[in-house]
Symmetry: C2
């Protein structure tokens, strides 16, 4: 008879709030400790299925993107007391309200979470950064219509460094990922910015561009 373990699914859900990444915390009032949303795995349930349901019921909507981070054995204590946990990252567009009983914690959320969960967040952001060149993570963190300035700012946020405007746009154009709308948005002063939408057309001559390499 082998050992058996309770298994928790953790959700690390990011959005953008005021130009910074923010992570969804459950049950925190003012200044108090927060925790990642989680759910125990039930018999006969698949990991991805449970993670998808956890995200959907927590947020009230399906996240724009989601993937598994990996499994960890919690020598330090998981809130559920489960010795095994499987982490999932998800993203929702900027502007998504935190569901009732939850809060967006802008990073670095030094005080709000335990150190174990903060380590998970670091790994989660690394995953976002690693995969954003090949998956539409940045676009899922933005509303359907966005300006190229917002898109670049998001890339800079995830990559942790400034990008060159002309190079960014050249690369973006070469990748055939976005489509301009006949719509402009004026943001205070300055020339209005044209809005774009994510419309990837993988076509002949669309060379793959690794934005992460741009300066």
């Amino acid at each position: 008879m082998p050992d058996r373990f309770a298994t928790a699914i953790d959700l690390i859900c990011f959005t953008v709030v005021g130009g910074a990444l923010a992570v969804l915390g459950a049950g925190a009032g003012r200044g108090g400790r927060s925790a990642l949303p989680w759910r125990l795995l039930g018999a006969g349930e698949g990991l991805d299925t449970v993670a998808a349901r956890l995200a959907r019921t927590t947020l009230g909507r399906a996240p724009g993107w989601r993937t598994q981070l990996g499994a960890s054995s919690d020598t330090s204590r998981h809130p559920s007391l489960a010795p095994l946990s499987v982490g999932y990252v998800a993203v929702v567009p900027a502007g998504t309200d935190a569901p009732p009983g939850h809060l967006w914690h802008r990073l670095p959320a030094a005080g709000a979470f335990g150190t174990r969960q903060q380590r998970g967040m670091v790994a989660a952001i690394a995953t976002l950064r690693d995969r954003m060149d090949v998956e539409p993570i940045a676009f899922r963190l933005l509303p359907a219509a966005f300006t190229l300035g917002e898109l670049q700012a998001l890339y800079e946020l995830l990559l942790g460094r400034r990008l060159h405007k002309a190079s960014f746009r050249r690369a973006l154009q070469g990748a055939f990922l976005v489509e301009p709308l006949e719509e402009w948005r004026t943001e205070g002063r300055g020339r209005p910015a044209q809005l774009y939408r994510y419309a990837p057309r993988r076509q002949r001559g669309s060379r793959p561009v690794r934005f992460a390499l741009l300066a």
Copy 2:
């Protein structure tokens, strides 16, 4: 009382045999089915600890590199009957003998493994390919001393495409990853190739080179 699950650790261990990747299978005789080495997680054990021990006891030595792939809930049946499994990838240098009761299966090992395990191998190779630019995976798949031709052939094997010799060497030089030995190896006909060893010196001016981008 939450549901509890037996949990298996799977080991996907690669080496190079005759210019092709090979994966370690347990218990296969001639032509028979093979299975990945695995071990059930015990109470109070950490995932990484168990994976390291599984690799060490299976191979008789610590692998040159190892990392977690992720967790999966086995709707199709795991050999251990555990409903949960956590996969690990590892590599050992070319020339490592298969331990007693095990065999190296050169890829594509179409017949030897079940489809579930073959999917894991595909994911494992994708992980190797994704991380080989930032972790010394290729060097752990080679003996301590190797020729640049062998190194390039290994990169080509993992990336699945030919690389340009001069570009590869230029990039390698710029990365300060290897050090020439005062030793040459003659391989049948042709000029002998100088041997090198992995000796990374992260120093001023060692620009990071993404070999995966080379043609």
